[in-house]
Protein backbone atom coordinates (compact mmCIF):
# COMPACT_ATOMS: atom_id res chain seq x y z
CA UNK A 1 0.00 0.00 0.00
CA UNK A 2 2.85 2.39 0.90
CA UNK A 3 4.53 1.54 -2.36
CA UNK A 4 1.35 2.21 -4.33
CA UNK A 5 0.83 5.64 -2.76
CA UNK A 6 4.46 6.70 -3.00
CA UNK A 7 4.90 5.70 -6.64
CA UNK A 8 1.65 7.39 -7.69
CA UNK A 9 2.59 10.59 -5.82
CA UNK A 10 6.14 10.50 -7.22
CA UNK A 11 4.66 10.43 -10.71
CA UNK A 12 2.69 13.61 -10.06
CA UNK A 13 5.65 15.29 -8.35
CA UNK A 14 7.97 14.47 -11.25
CA UNK A 15 5.60 16.09 -13.74
CA UNK A 16 5.97 19.32 -11.77
CA UNK A 17 9.72 18.85 -11.45
CA UNK A 18 9.80 19.21 -15.24
CA UNK A 19 8.38 22.72 -14.87
CA UNK A 20 10.82 23.95 -12.27
CA UNK A 21 14.10 22.20 -13.04
CA UNK A 22 15.79 23.72 -16.08
CA UNK A 23 18.75 21.34 -16.29
CA UNK A 24 17.45 18.12 -17.80
CA UNK A 25 20.40 16.09 -16.57
CA UNK A 26 19.34 16.68 -12.98
CA UNK A 27 15.85 15.23 -13.37
CA UNK A 28 17.12 11.68 -13.16
CA UNK A 29 18.47 12.33 -9.66
CA UNK A 30 14.99 13.32 -8.53
CA UNK A 31 13.63 10.13 -10.07
CA UNK A 32 16.28 8.01 -8.34
CA UNK A 33 15.50 9.69 -5.01
CA UNK A 34 11.76 9.13 -5.52
CA UNK A 35 12.22 5.45 -6.27
CA UNK A 36 14.51 5.01 -3.27
CA UNK A 37 11.78 6.52 -1.09
CA UNK A 38 9.20 4.15 -2.60
CA UNK A 39 11.54 1.19 -2.04
CA UNK A 40 12.10 2.06 1.61
CA UNK A 41 8.40 2.82 2.19
CA UNK A 42 7.58 -0.58 0.75
CA UNK A 43 10.08 -2.38 2.97
CA UNK A 44 8.77 -0.49 5.99
CA UNK A 45 5.45 -2.20 5.45
CA UNK A 46 6.98 -5.66 5.66
CA UNK A 47 6.79 -6.10 9.48
CA UNK A 48 3.07 -5.24 9.43
CA UNK A 49 2.23 -8.05 7.00
CA UNK A 50 4.76 -10.62 8.17
CA UNK A 51 2.15 -12.69 10.00
CA UNK A 52 -0.69 -12.38 7.51
CA UNK A 53 -1.95 -9.65 5.25
CA UNK A 54 -4.97 -7.46 5.55
CA UNK A 55 -7.69 -6.32 3.16
CA UNK A 56 -8.54 -2.67 2.62
CA UNK A 57 -12.23 -2.02 1.91
CA UNK A 58 -12.53 -5.24 -0.07
CA UNK A 59 -10.44 -3.73 -2.85
CA UNK A 60 -6.75 -4.21 -2.04
CA UNK A 61 -5.13 -7.01 -0.11
CA UNK A 62 -1.69 -6.31 1.28
CA UNK A 63 0.23 -9.56 1.61
CA UNK A 64 3.80 -10.62 2.29
CA UNK A 65 4.05 -11.98 -1.23
CA UNK A 66 2.83 -8.70 -2.72
CA UNK A 67 5.27 -6.64 -0.66
CA UNK A 68 8.12 -8.92 -1.72
CA UNK A 69 7.17 -8.65 -5.37
CA UNK A 70 6.91 -4.86 -5.05
CA UNK A 71 10.41 -4.84 -3.59
CA UNK A 72 11.70 -6.82 -6.59
CA UNK A 73 9.94 -4.54 -9.08
CA UNK A 74 11.09 -1.34 -7.38
CA UNK A 75 14.63 -2.69 -7.01
CA UNK A 76 14.75 -3.55 -10.71
CA UNK A 77 13.37 -0.10 -11.56
CA UNK A 78 16.04 1.51 -9.37
CA UNK A 79 18.73 -0.41 -11.22
CA UNK A 80 17.10 0.63 -14.50
CA UNK A 81 17.26 4.31 -13.53
CA UNK A 82 20.87 3.99 -12.39
CA UNK A 83 21.93 2.29 -15.62
CA UNK A 84 19.74 3.96 -18.22
CA UNK A 85 18.50 7.16 -16.57
CA UNK A 86 20.77 9.33 -18.70
CA UNK A 87 19.39 7.82 -21.92
CA UNK A 88 15.99 9.44 -21.28
CA UNK A 89 17.35 12.81 -22.44
CA UNK A 90 18.21 11.41 -25.85
CA UNK A 91 14.63 10.36 -26.62
CA UNK A 92 13.01 13.77 -26.68
CA UNK A 93 12.24 17.04 -24.98
CA UNK A 94 9.98 16.00 -22.12
CA UNK A 95 12.37 14.10 -19.87
CA UNK A 96 10.43 14.65 -16.65
CA UNK A 97 7.23 13.40 -18.25
CA UNK A 98 8.88 10.16 -19.31
CA UNK A 99 10.01 9.58 -15.75
CA UNK A 100 6.52 10.42 -14.50
CA UNK A 101 4.99 7.88 -16.90
CA UNK A 102 7.42 5.22 -15.68
CA UNK A 103 6.26 5.94 -12.14
CA UNK A 104 2.62 5.63 -13.15
CA UNK A 105 3.38 2.25 -14.73
CA UNK A 106 5.07 1.24 -11.49
CA UNK A 107 2.00 2.20 -9.48
CA UNK A 108 -0.05 -0.03 -11.80
CA UNK A 109 2.34 -2.88 -11.08
CA UNK A 110 2.06 -2.30 -7.32
CA UNK A 111 -1.72 -2.52 -7.72
CA UNK A 112 -1.44 -5.69 -9.79
CA UNK A 113 0.47 -7.35 -6.97
CA UNK A 114 -2.23 -6.59 -4.41
CA UNK A 115 -5.71 -6.42 -5.95
CA UNK A 116 -8.51 -8.38 -4.30
CA UNK A 117 -11.34 -7.22 -6.55
CA UNK A 118 -11.82 -7.61 -10.29
CA UNK A 119 -12.32 -3.84 -10.57
CA UNK A 120 -8.81 -3.30 -9.21
CA UNK A 121 -7.43 -5.93 -11.60
CA UNK A 122 -8.91 -4.00 -14.52
CA UNK A 123 -7.56 -0.68 -13.22
CA UNK A 124 -4.11 -2.18 -12.55
CA UNK A 125 -3.85 -3.58 -16.07
CA UNK A 126 -4.97 -0.25 -17.56
CA UNK A 127 -2.65 1.88 -15.41
CA UNK A 128 0.19 -0.37 -16.54
CA UNK A 129 -0.77 -0.21 -20.21
CA UNK A 130 -1.82 3.35 -21.06
CA UNK A 131 1.51 5.04 -20.15
CA UNK A 132 3.30 2.37 -22.19
CA UNK A 133 1.44 3.42 -25.35
CA UNK A 134 2.80 6.93 -24.85
CA UNK A 135 6.34 5.77 -24.06
CA UNK A 136 6.38 3.53 -27.15
CA UNK A 137 5.66 6.58 -29.31
CA UNK A 138 7.94 8.98 -27.43
CA UNK A 139 10.22 9.41 -30.44
CA UNK A 140 7.60 11.37 -32.35
CA UNK A 141 9.49 11.85 -35.62
CA UNK A 142 10.49 8.24 -36.13
CA UNK A 143 8.09 6.14 -38.19
CA UNK A 144 9.14 2.97 -36.41
CA UNK A 145 8.26 4.49 -33.06
CA UNK A 146 4.93 5.73 -34.47
CA UNK A 147 4.10 2.29 -35.71
CA UNK A 148 5.07 0.69 -32.42
CA UNK A 149 2.85 3.09 -30.51
CA UNK A 150 -0.16 2.72 -32.82
CA UNK A 151 0.11 -1.05 -32.93
CA UNK A 152 0.57 -1.35 -29.20
CA UNK A 153 -2.34 0.97 -28.54
CA UNK A 154 -4.78 -0.83 -30.85
CA UNK A 155 -3.79 -4.31 -29.71
CA UNK A 156 -3.65 -3.27 -26.06
CA UNK A 157 -7.13 -1.75 -26.01
CA UNK A 158 -8.48 -4.71 -27.97
CA UNK A 159 -7.18 -7.07 -25.29
CA UNK A 160 -8.65 -4.77 -22.63
CA UNK A 161 -12.04 -5.22 -24.26
CA UNK A 162 -11.62 -8.99 -24.11
CA UNK A 163 -10.50 -8.82 -20.48
CA UNK A 164 -13.59 -6.77 -19.60
CA UNK A 165 -15.88 -9.24 -21.36
CA UNK A 166 -14.27 -12.02 -19.34
CA UNK A 167 -14.77 -10.11 -16.09
CA UNK A 168 -18.42 -9.41 -16.95
CA UNK A 169 -19.18 -13.03 -17.78
CA UNK A 170 -17.56 -14.17 -14.55
CA UNK A 171 -19.66 -11.61 -12.70
CA UNK A 172 -22.76 -12.94 -14.44
CA UNK A 173 -21.96 -16.41 -13.13
CA UNK A 174 -20.74 -15.52 -9.64
CA UNK A 175 -22.54 -12.31 -8.71
CA UNK A 176 -19.55 -10.71 -7.06
CA UNK A 177 -16.26 -9.07 -8.02
CA UNK A 178 -14.26 -10.19 -5.00
CA UNK A 179 -11.67 -12.66 -6.19
CA UNK A 180 -11.71 -14.73 -3.02
CA UNK A 181 -15.50 -14.99 -3.04
CA UNK A 182 -16.14 -16.07 -6.61
CA UNK A 183 -16.53 -19.71 -5.54
CA UNK A 184 -16.38 -20.97 -9.09
CA UNK A 185 -14.93 -24.41 -8.36
CA UNK A 186 -17.65 -25.43 -5.90
CA UNK A 187 -19.85 -27.80 -7.87
CA UNK A 188 -20.65 -27.86 -11.60
CA UNK A 189 -19.03 -25.11 -13.63
CA UNK A 190 -21.36 -22.43 -14.97
CA UNK A 191 -20.95 -22.02 -18.78
CA UNK A 192 -20.75 -18.23 -18.42
CA UNK A 193 -17.87 -18.61 -15.98
CA UNK A 194 -16.09 -20.98 -18.33
CA UNK A 195 -16.31 -18.51 -21.24
CA UNK A 196 -15.18 -15.76 -18.90
CA UNK A 197 -12.13 -17.67 -17.72
CA UNK A 198 -11.09 -18.51 -21.27
CA UNK A 199 -11.45 -14.86 -22.33
CA UNK A 200 -9.35 -13.84 -19.33
CA UNK A 201 -6.64 -16.36 -20.25
CA UNK A 202 -6.56 -14.83 -23.73
CA UNK A 203 -6.48 -11.23 -22.51
CA UNK A 204 -3.75 -11.82 -19.95
CA UNK A 205 -1.73 -13.80 -22.49
CA UNK A 206 -1.91 -10.70 -24.68
CA UNK A 207 -0.49 -8.58 -21.87
CA UNK A 208 2.40 -10.93 -21.15
CA UNK A 209 2.89 -11.59 -24.91
CA UNK A 210 2.41 -15.35 -24.90
CA UNK A 211 2.03 -17.10 -28.29
CA UNK A 212 -0.43 -16.96 -30.19
CA UNK A 213 -1.09 -13.46 -28.82
CA UNK A 214 2.50 -12.28 -29.19
CA UNK A 215 2.42 -10.89 -32.74
CA UNK A 216 2.59 -7.27 -31.56
CA UNK A 217 5.65 -7.88 -29.39
CA UNK A 218 8.59 -7.94 -31.84
CA UNK A 219 7.44 -4.83 -33.73
CA UNK A 220 6.59 -2.87 -30.59
CA UNK A 221 9.79 -3.77 -28.74
CA UNK A 222 11.87 -3.15 -31.85
CA UNK A 223 10.23 0.15 -32.75
CA UNK A 224 10.05 1.78 -29.32
CA UNK A 225 13.01 3.84 -28.11
CA UNK A 226 15.47 1.28 -26.71
CA UNK A 227 15.47 2.79 -23.25
CA UNK A 228 11.73 2.16 -22.92
CA UNK A 229 11.89 -1.31 -24.49
CA UNK A 230 14.24 -2.20 -21.69
CA UNK A 231 11.60 -1.28 -19.11
CA UNK A 232 8.58 -2.64 -20.98
CA UNK A 233 10.09 -6.06 -21.57
CA UNK A 234 11.23 -6.56 -17.98
CA UNK A 235 9.49 -4.94 -15.02
CA UNK A 236 6.15 -4.44 -16.76
CA UNK A 237 6.09 -7.99 -18.05
CA UNK A 238 6.77 -9.29 -14.54
CA UNK A 239 3.86 -7.11 -13.36
CA UNK A 240 1.58 -8.76 -15.92
CA UNK A 241 2.62 -12.16 -14.62
CA UNK A 242 1.94 -11.25 -11.02
CA UNK A 243 -1.61 -10.20 -11.98
CA UNK A 244 -2.02 -13.45 -13.90
CA UNK A 245 -0.73 -15.54 -11.00
CA UNK A 246 -2.78 -13.76 -8.35
CA UNK A 247 -6.00 -14.01 -10.35
CA UNK A 248 -5.64 -17.67 -11.22
CA UNK A 249 -4.31 -18.89 -7.89
CA UNK A 250 -6.96 -17.14 -5.83
CA UNK A 251 -10.08 -17.63 -7.92
CA UNK A 252 -9.64 -20.35 -10.48
CA UNK A 253 -7.70 -22.92 -8.51
CA UNK A 254 -10.60 -24.86 -7.01
CA UNK A 255 -11.28 -28.55 -7.75
CA UNK A 256 -13.00 -28.98 -11.07
CA UNK A 257 -12.52 -25.51 -12.49
CA UNK A 258 -8.75 -25.73 -12.86
CA UNK A 259 -8.83 -28.71 -15.22
CA UNK A 260 -10.70 -26.58 -17.76
CA UNK A 261 -7.99 -23.98 -18.17
CA UNK A 262 -4.83 -25.91 -17.25
CA UNK A 263 -4.77 -27.66 -20.63
CA UNK A 264 -5.27 -24.43 -22.60
CA UNK A 265 -2.59 -22.69 -20.60
CA UNK A 266 -0.15 -25.62 -20.95
CA UNK A 267 -0.58 -25.53 -24.72
CA UNK A 268 -0.03 -21.75 -24.72
CA UNK A 269 3.12 -22.31 -22.64
CA UNK A 270 4.48 -24.99 -24.96
CA UNK A 271 3.86 -22.94 -28.11
CA UNK A 272 5.33 -19.83 -26.48
CA UNK A 273 8.52 -21.69 -25.59
CA UNK A 274 8.95 -23.29 -29.00
CA UNK A 275 8.04 -20.30 -31.16
CA UNK A 276 9.88 -17.76 -29.02
CA UNK A 277 13.11 -19.70 -29.00
CA UNK A 278 13.08 -20.74 -32.65
CA UNK A 279 12.28 -17.22 -33.87
CA UNK A 280 15.04 -15.75 -31.72
CA UNK A 281 17.58 -17.96 -33.47
CA UNK A 282 16.97 -16.30 -36.84
CA UNK A 283 17.23 -12.65 -35.82
CA UNK A 284 19.96 -10.35 -37.12
CA UNK A 285 19.48 -7.51 -34.66
CA UNK A 286 20.27 -8.00 -30.98
CA UNK A 287 17.36 -5.76 -30.00
CA UNK A 288 14.93 -7.92 -31.95
CA UNK A 289 16.57 -11.06 -30.60
CA UNK A 290 15.94 -9.75 -27.08
CA UNK A 291 12.29 -9.13 -28.00
CA UNK A 292 11.89 -12.77 -29.01
CA UNK A 293 13.91 -13.85 -26.01
CA UNK A 294 11.40 -12.01 -23.82
CA UNK A 295 8.64 -14.09 -25.42
CA UNK A 296 10.63 -17.25 -24.74
CA UNK A 297 11.26 -16.24 -21.13
CA UNK A 298 7.53 -15.51 -20.74
CA UNK A 299 7.03 -19.20 -21.55
CA UNK A 300 9.12 -20.15 -18.54
CA UNK A 301 7.29 -17.72 -16.27
CA UNK A 302 3.97 -19.21 -17.40
CA UNK A 303 5.05 -22.45 -15.72
CA UNK A 304 4.48 -20.80 -12.36
CA UNK A 305 0.88 -20.03 -13.31
CA UNK A 306 0.21 -23.51 -14.70
CA UNK A 307 1.79 -25.31 -11.73
CA UNK A 308 -0.31 -23.45 -9.14
CA UNK A 309 1.75 -24.27 -6.06
CA UNK A 310 3.97 -22.53 -3.55
CA UNK A 311 7.14 -23.41 -5.40
CA UNK A 312 5.73 -21.71 -8.48
CA UNK A 313 5.11 -18.54 -6.48
CA UNK A 314 8.72 -18.61 -5.25
CA UNK A 315 9.84 -19.31 -8.79
CA UNK A 316 8.08 -16.28 -10.22
CA UNK A 317 9.66 -13.96 -7.64
CA UNK A 318 13.11 -15.33 -8.43
CA UNK A 319 12.45 -15.35 -12.17
CA UNK A 320 11.22 -11.75 -12.17
CA UNK A 321 14.35 -10.65 -10.34
CA UNK A 322 16.80 -12.70 -12.41
CA UNK A 323 15.24 -11.90 -15.77
CA UNK A 324 14.72 -8.19 -15.05
CA UNK A 325 18.24 -7.54 -13.79
CA UNK A 326 19.91 -9.43 -16.62
CA UNK A 327 17.81 -7.94 -19.42
CA UNK A 328 18.07 -4.39 -18.08
CA UNK A 329 21.85 -4.88 -17.97
CA UNK A 330 22.10 -6.16 -21.54
CA UNK A 331 19.92 -3.32 -22.82
CA UNK A 332 21.99 -0.75 -20.91
CA UNK A 333 25.14 -1.89 -22.73
CA UNK A 334 23.28 -2.22 -26.04
CA UNK A 335 22.28 1.45 -25.82
CA UNK A 336 25.94 2.43 -25.63
CA UNK A 337 26.61 0.78 -29.00
CA UNK A 338 25.93 2.42 -32.37
CA UNK A 339 25.18 -0.79 -34.24
CA UNK A 340 22.44 -3.07 -32.88
CA UNK A 341 23.30 -6.10 -35.03
CA UNK A 342 25.37 -9.03 -33.80
CA UNK A 343 28.32 -7.65 -35.80
CA UNK A 344 28.11 -4.50 -33.70
CA UNK A 345 29.39 -6.52 -30.75
CA UNK A 346 32.48 -7.81 -32.62
CA UNK A 347 35.62 -7.20 -30.61
CA UNK A 348 33.89 -5.50 -27.68
CA UNK A 349 35.95 -7.52 -25.19
CA UNK A 350 39.19 -5.87 -26.38
CA UNK A 351 37.84 -2.34 -26.33
CA UNK A 352 35.65 -2.40 -23.22
CA UNK A 353 36.52 -5.53 -21.21
CA UNK A 354 34.27 -4.62 -18.27
CA UNK A 355 31.17 -4.07 -20.43
CA UNK A 356 31.79 -7.30 -22.32
CA UNK A 357 32.28 -9.32 -19.13
CA UNK A 358 29.07 -7.90 -17.64
CA UNK A 359 27.07 -8.70 -20.78
CA UNK A 360 28.50 -12.22 -20.73
CA UNK A 361 27.33 -12.74 -17.13
CA UNK A 362 23.85 -11.39 -17.95
CA UNK A 363 23.54 -13.65 -20.98
CA UNK A 364 24.73 -16.65 -18.94
CA UNK A 365 21.94 -15.82 -16.50
CA UNK A 366 19.33 -15.54 -19.26
CA UNK A 367 20.44 -18.89 -20.67
CA UNK A 368 20.23 -20.48 -17.22
CA UNK A 369 23.87 -21.45 -16.68
CA UNK A 370 24.66 -22.45 -13.05
CA UNK A 371 26.17 -19.95 -10.60
CA UNK A 372 23.96 -17.22 -12.11
CA UNK A 373 20.48 -16.22 -10.94
CA UNK A 374 18.82 -17.55 -14.08
CA UNK A 375 19.77 -21.12 -13.20
CA UNK A 376 17.85 -21.17 -9.93
CA UNK A 377 14.96 -19.24 -11.47
CA UNK A 378 14.55 -21.93 -14.12
CA UNK A 379 15.14 -24.64 -11.52
CA UNK A 380 12.30 -23.34 -9.32
CA UNK A 381 9.69 -22.94 -12.06
CA UNK A 382 10.51 -26.32 -13.57
CA UNK A 383 10.43 -28.16 -10.25
CA UNK A 384 7.10 -26.46 -9.51
CA UNK A 385 5.83 -28.07 -12.71
CA UNK A 386 7.27 -31.45 -11.72
CA UNK A 387 5.57 -31.16 -8.31
CA UNK A 388 2.28 -30.50 -10.11
CA UNK A 389 2.71 -33.94 -11.67
CA UNK A 390 0.55 -33.87 -14.80
CA UNK A 391 2.64 -31.68 -17.06
CA UNK A 392 5.93 -33.55 -17.41
CA UNK A 393 5.77 -33.31 -21.21
CA UNK A 394 5.90 -29.54 -20.80
CA UNK A 395 9.05 -29.77 -18.67
CA UNK A 396 10.79 -31.81 -21.38
CA UNK A 397 9.91 -29.20 -24.02
CA UNK A 398 11.17 -26.45 -21.70
CA UNK A 399 14.53 -28.12 -21.13
CA UNK A 400 15.03 -28.63 -24.87
CA UNK A 401 14.10 -24.97 -25.51
CA UNK A 402 16.54 -23.81 -22.83
CA UNK A 403 19.23 -25.65 -24.78
CA UNK A 404 18.22 -23.83 -27.98
CA UNK A 405 18.33 -20.49 -26.17
CA UNK A 406 22.01 -21.07 -25.39
CA UNK A 407 22.72 -20.79 -29.13
CA UNK A 408 21.43 -17.25 -29.65
CA UNK A 409 22.67 -15.90 -26.33
CA UNK A 410 26.14 -17.28 -26.95
CA UNK A 411 26.25 -15.75 -30.43
CA UNK A 412 26.66 -12.40 -28.71
CA UNK A 413 29.38 -13.73 -26.40
CA UNK A 414 31.24 -15.27 -29.34
CA UNK A 415 31.00 -11.99 -31.24
CA UNK A 416 32.43 -10.10 -28.27
CA UNK A 417 35.30 -12.42 -27.42
CA UNK A 418 36.31 -14.36 -30.51
CA UNK A 419 35.66 -12.03 -33.43
CA UNK A 420 37.77 -9.13 -34.60
CA UNK A 421 36.18 -5.78 -35.02
CA UNK A 422 36.16 -2.14 -34.06
CA UNK A 423 32.85 -1.53 -32.24
CA UNK A 424 31.66 2.05 -31.92
CA UNK A 425 31.01 2.55 -28.23
CA UNK A 426 29.95 5.73 -26.53
CA UNK A 427 32.21 6.69 -23.63
CA UNK A 428 30.79 5.36 -20.36
CA UNK A 429 30.93 7.11 -17.01
CA UNK A 430 32.26 5.71 -13.75
CA UNK A 431 28.77 5.68 -12.27
CA UNK A 432 27.51 3.52 -15.12
CA UNK A 433 30.34 1.03 -14.54
CA UNK A 434 29.62 0.94 -10.81
CA UNK A 435 25.90 0.25 -11.44
CA UNK A 436 26.85 -2.45 -13.95
CA UNK A 437 29.14 -4.12 -11.39
CA UNK A 438 26.32 -3.93 -8.83
CA UNK A 439 23.98 -5.70 -11.28
CA UNK A 440 26.58 -8.40 -11.96
CA UNK A 441 27.07 -8.94 -8.23
CA UNK A 442 23.28 -9.23 -7.75
CA UNK A 443 23.05 -11.84 -10.52
CA UNK A 444 25.90 -13.86 -9.00
CA UNK A 445 24.62 -13.49 -5.42
CA UNK A 446 21.15 -14.75 -6.40
CA UNK A 447 22.81 -17.53 -8.35
CA UNK A 448 24.73 -18.73 -5.31
CA UNK A 449 22.18 -17.98 -2.58
CA UNK A 450 18.61 -17.78 -3.94
CA UNK A 451 17.48 -17.76 -0.32
CA UNK A 452 18.63 -14.15 -0.02
CA UNK A 453 15.34 -13.36 -1.74
CA UNK A 454 13.19 -16.36 -0.90
CA UNK A 455 13.75 -16.23 2.87
CA UNK A 456 11.34 -13.27 2.86
CA UNK A 457 8.50 -15.35 1.47
Amino acid sequence: MNALISTALSGVVLMFVGLFVRNKQHIKFYAIAAILIAFIANLAQYPAVEHGGYIMYGMIEVTKFGVLFNAVALGAALLYFLLSGSEFEKVGEHVADYFALVFFILSGIMLAASFSNLLMLFLAIEIMSIPQYILAGADKKSLKSNEASLKYFLMGSFSTGILLMGITLIYGAAGTFEISGLGLGAESVHPLALCGIILMVFALSFKVSAVPFHFWTPDVYDGSPTVFTSFMSTVVKAGGFIAFLRMFHTSFAGGNISEHWTLILSIITAVTLILGNFSAVFQQSVKRMLAYSSIAQAGFMLFAVVAMNNMGAQGIILYSAAYSIATIGVFAVLMKLKDYTFEGFNGLAKKEPLLAAAVAVFLFSLAGIPVTAGFFAKYFVLSAAIQHGHILWLVIIAVLCAAISVYYYFRVIIAMYFKQGEPEVEPVSGGFKAALILAVLLVLALGLFPNLLLCWM
Binding site: Y133, F158, M165, L169, F177
Partner: protein, 105 residues
Protein backbone atom coordinates in the same frame (compact mmCIF):
# COMPACT_ATOMS: atom_id res chain seq x y z
CA UNK B 1 -37.81 -8.60 -20.13
CA UNK B 2 -35.65 -11.70 -19.55
CA UNK B 3 -31.92 -11.13 -19.20
CA UNK B 4 -31.16 -13.48 -22.11
CA UNK B 5 -32.15 -10.83 -24.67
CA UNK B 6 -29.61 -8.45 -23.21
CA UNK B 7 -26.94 -11.13 -23.20
CA UNK B 8 -27.55 -11.92 -26.88
CA UNK B 9 -27.61 -8.24 -27.82
CA UNK B 10 -24.36 -7.48 -26.06
CA UNK B 11 -22.61 -10.57 -27.39
CA UNK B 12 -23.70 -9.56 -30.88
CA UNK B 13 -22.40 -6.01 -30.39
CA UNK B 14 -19.16 -7.39 -28.96
CA UNK B 15 -18.68 -9.70 -31.93
CA UNK B 16 -19.33 -6.86 -34.39
CA UNK B 17 -16.61 -4.93 -32.56
CA UNK B 18 -14.16 -7.84 -32.67
CA UNK B 19 -14.76 -8.44 -36.39
CA UNK B 20 -14.31 -4.74 -37.06
CA UNK B 21 -10.96 -4.67 -35.26
CA UNK B 22 -9.74 -7.72 -37.15
CA UNK B 23 -10.99 -6.73 -40.62
CA UNK B 24 -10.87 -2.96 -41.03
CA UNK B 25 -7.68 -1.13 -42.00
CA UNK B 26 -8.58 2.41 -40.95
CA UNK B 27 -7.18 3.25 -37.51
CA UNK B 28 -10.15 5.44 -36.57
CA UNK B 29 -12.67 2.74 -37.49
CA UNK B 30 -10.69 0.12 -35.55
CA UNK B 31 -10.76 2.49 -32.63
CA UNK B 32 -14.53 2.91 -32.94
CA UNK B 33 -14.92 -0.87 -32.96
CA UNK B 34 -12.91 -1.11 -29.74
CA UNK B 35 -15.28 1.43 -28.19
CA UNK B 36 -18.18 -0.68 -29.40
CA UNK B 37 -16.68 -3.69 -27.59
CA UNK B 38 -16.37 -1.69 -24.38
CA UNK B 39 -19.94 -0.45 -24.63
CA UNK B 40 -21.25 -3.96 -25.24
CA UNK B 41 -19.52 -4.88 -21.99
CA UNK B 42 -21.17 -1.92 -20.25
CA UNK B 43 -24.61 -3.00 -21.38
CA UNK B 44 -24.01 -6.56 -20.25
CA UNK B 45 -22.67 -5.37 -16.92
CA UNK B 46 -25.78 -3.30 -16.24
CA UNK B 47 -28.14 -6.11 -17.17
CA UNK B 48 -26.28 -8.58 -14.96
CA UNK B 49 -26.48 -6.04 -12.17
CA UNK B 50 -30.26 -5.92 -12.58
CA UNK B 51 -30.40 -9.71 -12.75
CA UNK B 52 -28.53 -10.12 -9.45
CA UNK B 53 -30.54 -7.34 -7.83
CA UNK B 54 -33.75 -9.18 -8.75
CA UNK B 55 -32.21 -12.32 -7.30
CA UNK B 56 -31.91 -10.46 -4.01
CA UNK B 57 -28.23 -9.58 -3.79
CA UNK B 58 -27.66 -6.35 -1.91
CA UNK B 59 -24.25 -5.61 -3.49
CA UNK B 60 -25.50 -5.80 -7.08
CA UNK B 61 -24.97 -2.04 -7.44
CA UNK B 62 -21.21 -2.56 -7.56
CA UNK B 63 -21.55 -3.70 -11.18
CA UNK B 64 -23.10 -0.35 -12.09
CA UNK B 65 -20.17 1.34 -10.38
CA UNK B 66 -17.84 -0.79 -12.49
CA UNK B 67 -19.53 0.63 -15.61
CA UNK B 68 -18.52 4.14 -14.56
CA UNK B 69 -14.92 3.02 -14.13
CA UNK B 70 -14.97 1.49 -17.62
CA UNK B 71 -16.27 4.78 -19.03
CA UNK B 72 -13.56 6.80 -17.26
CA UNK B 73 -10.78 4.49 -18.38
CA UNK B 74 -12.17 4.42 -21.92
CA UNK B 75 -12.10 8.22 -21.94
CA UNK B 76 -8.46 8.19 -20.82
CA UNK B 77 -7.72 5.70 -23.57
CA UNK B 78 -9.44 7.92 -26.14
CA UNK B 79 -7.24 10.84 -25.09
CA UNK B 80 -4.06 8.83 -25.59
CA UNK B 81 -5.30 6.96 -28.64
CA UNK B 82 -6.46 9.96 -30.65
CA UNK B 83 -3.17 11.71 -29.83
CA UNK B 84 -1.27 8.73 -31.21
CA UNK B 85 -3.41 8.62 -34.34
CA UNK B 86 -2.88 12.37 -34.85
CA UNK B 87 0.86 11.90 -34.47
CA UNK B 88 0.85 9.15 -37.09
CA UNK B 89 -1.28 11.30 -39.40
CA UNK B 90 1.17 14.20 -39.13
CA UNK B 91 4.06 12.01 -40.24
CA UNK B 92 2.34 9.95 -42.92
CA UNK B 93 -0.80 11.93 -43.93
CA UNK B 94 -2.83 8.75 -43.62
CA UNK B 95 -4.61 6.74 -40.96
CA UNK B 96 -4.30 3.44 -42.82
CA UNK B 97 -2.62 0.95 -40.49
CA UNK B 98 -0.75 -0.75 -43.34
CA UNK B 99 0.98 2.39 -44.56
CA UNK B 100 3.57 2.31 -41.79
CA UNK B 101 4.66 -1.18 -42.78
CA UNK B 102 5.17 0.05 -46.33
CA UNK B 103 6.97 3.25 -45.42
CA UNK B 104 9.35 1.56 -43.02
CA UNK B 105 10.98 -0.59 -45.70
Amino acid sequence: MPVQYYIFLSIALFCIGVMGVLMRRNAIIIFMCIELMLNAVNLLMVSFSKMWADAGRVDAGSAQLFVFFIMVVAAAEVAVGLAIITMVYRNTHSVDINILNRLKN
